[in-house]
Symmetry: none
Subunit: 401 residues, 2 copies
């Protein structure tokens, strides 16, 4: 397919509007007793109607067989090849907690862990300490002072925290201290490029000080760091697609991912109905909207088939509010599958509806995995979705003469 | 899609088992009088049942429109991009005769040919001499002595033989002597890289001596050499996929191809039933099995539609023995199509069944070209099959956070 530079050459500004509804982890697997997936079980008359009027298919978020994390899953549907545009683990961690990251910062993911007197790791998660204990210990670590750099130690949940160095001439090219196994000592962090020597030295100094500060806090008597990274410099959706794009997402991680590609993040309430209300209220001001529904994924990860069905039905009930706005293009899909029977993200392709006045309707009458698998869009990489949406919004000029 | 290094980063060892059944040349074309392909003609209740329980699609062994040889056909289904991982013709020739090739050896494919007194080639195949005559002449050529190198001249069939140089500092970077046309002289072989000068000199000396030795053996009074090559250094399936892979193949070529990717080659009888028995007997010892059925391809190449149908039915009768072992993942496909009406390998995509507990069953109820073309897997490159099999065996970790 065309790369983003080529897409950029074809993209034209126009008054048409695109709404991309990402139902996180929407794809599922059949429950053995009924033989039906979550989507096939849910009563979704509005999504089915949209599928009937649109054209359908299945997307592979990254490539067949590959289970995507949230970042590659979303970058794909935003039109950014997830094999080419990657987000470091440290950055992802701070995106997930709404930390106001700066382009010069370096972020790492931290784990509180347990070490023996000899310095060998016995538990990489410190017995999954409570989030409260985590907050307390992050305050202890925040008192560490390193010369020439501002330090942020931000609690996440259980044993996880984010570490941010703020200062000049920092680099994310630093190796992990996390040995990814027990029975060995944490690894010394080294610079993976000459320009990262300052950062590697700071990281090692931080670890030495953290060990002293945490000595009396068994089981959380040490920290492990990994995924040093800087905010990636992705071209914006405005730059590529000439879209004034807005994101409506109740969860920090997805607001962060939207910000990565230059979307304006709208304030919204936490409920699904709040998100659709936010869409209506801001509909006049943007020509592209990404709406993110999280709870399908959460229910899938919890293995709660029925809860996922209920969330799908709740999403369906909001569809008339969406279609009532009469966007020129509506895309409904997900960033990956999260089958409740697997209790995890999975590699399965994700059903997609593409609706527009010009979409060339197919025979699919239902928004489900089985129905969409026979849709006219076929099975295709998620990264091709944005060019299709743009085309259907008549926002892509002819390629070649 | 991800490259093998990226797949390697995601692959995890687990107790689940994968069986890959390759029915050589399985895809076909309809016989004009019935309108049905070989697969559609054959009674294959067991494969149909597997298709009903699995998810189906069509694979392109190399890419659409490309007719693959055996090596690219197999490398694709083993997950090695056949456009990136290639096997020299000389090496392929010795793989086909079970010759114990060494990594330092250089192999070439040889043809006995006919030349005039002036040295011009009049028949590149020496009138397709008998295999017996071939063996006799290979013994003559084996008496040639070249300094510093051990020589093996191994008959194949008719006019074809394999030439192997064994010694130090050899290289496969040598041009062909075969001019690929008649009326001209064989070409002098030249080193295509500086390190191949010794090998090119040896090859030219061999040709000079062979001409003398064969002078009285018209029509086979000369030889042509092509495809100089060394054993390729592919990453092993163990290295990439963390699989302890075993191959069950009655024909030398396919054992050789399996060895190229590091599979353990199991001893097996020549019959299809023998191969499935070998699977049962060794099932406990490996977590990946490649079973190769040759006779479908042979029947296709012979243009014997009915024979191909019978072989397919024979394969079908063995499927219960396979499913009875309850592998976590079963993949049934082929390395390419060999339609009896074409009497040759063809470019047509190949039907595939992917069965696992987590495969997300589609509506396909039959293992045939037409039925699989509407399967949920859609049409995809063969090289994506292994990541799918690995995912279904829960052997691939999440990509990205």
């Amino acid at each position: 397919m065309l790369n983003l530079e080529q897409i950029k050459d074809l993209a034209v500004k126009s008054p048409t509007k695109i709404v991309l509804l990402v139902i996180d982890g929407v794809g599922g697997l059949p429950r053995p007793d009924t033989g039906k997936t979550e989507l096939e079980t849910a009563r979704t008359p509005n999504l089915d109607s949209l599928a009937s009027r649109g054209t359908c298919g299945m997307i592979d978020p990254v490539s067949p067989g590959i289970t995507p994390g949230s970042a590659p899953g979303h970058l794909g549907v935003f039109g950014y090849d997830p094999l080419k545009y990657s987000v470091g683990r440290g950055i992802l961690e701070v995106l997930g907690i709404d930390f106001d990251i700066d382009r010069k910062d370096v972020a790492a993911r931290g784990n509180f862990c347990t070490i023996t007197r000899d310095g060998l790791v016995t538990d990489r998660r410190a017995g999954r300490i409570s989030t409260e204990k985590n907050s307390e210990l992050c305050r202890v670590l925040s008192d560490i002072e390193l010369s020439g750099v501002e330090l942020h130690v931000i609690p996440v949940t259980e044993h996880r925290f984010a570490l941010v160095f703020r200062g000049d001439k920092l680099s994310g090219e630093v190796s992990d201290s996390d040995p990814q196994q027990t029975g060995v000592a944490p690894k010394e962090m080294v610079a993976l490029s000459p320009s990262a020597q300052k950062t590697a030295a700071l990281a090692n100094e931080f670890i030495t000080r953290a060990k002293e500060a945490l000595a009396e806090h068994h089981p959380a008597n040490m920290v492990l760091l990994r995924g040093f990274s800087q905010y990636p410099d992705f071209p914006s959706m405005d730059d590529i697609y000439k879209l004034n794009a807005a994101a409506i997402a109740a969860y920090p991680m997805y607001r962060g991912l939207a910000r990565l590609v230059g979307m304006t993040v709208l304030n919204t309430g936490a409920g699904i109905d709040d998100e659709f209300k936010t869409l209506s209220q801001n509909y006049a001001d943007h020509d592209f909207f990404f709406i993110h529904v999280k709870k399908t994924d959460s229910a899938g990860e919890d293995g709660d088939f029925d809860a996922k069905v209920r969330v799908l039905e709740e999403v369906d009930s909001q569809i008339p509010q969406l279609t009532g706005l009469e966007p020129d293009v509506i895309v409904v899909s997900g960033d990956h599958s999260t089958p409740a029977v697997l209790k995890a993200h999975s590699w399965h392709p994700v059903p997609v509806i593409l609706y527009s006045k010009w979409c060339r309707t197919d025979n699919v009458k239902e928004f489900s995995e089985t129905a969409c698998a026979s849709g006219a869009l076929g099975r295709f990489p998620a990264v091709e979705l944005m060019p299709l949406a743009m085309a259907n919004a008549l926002k892509l000029a002819k390629y070649g003469a």
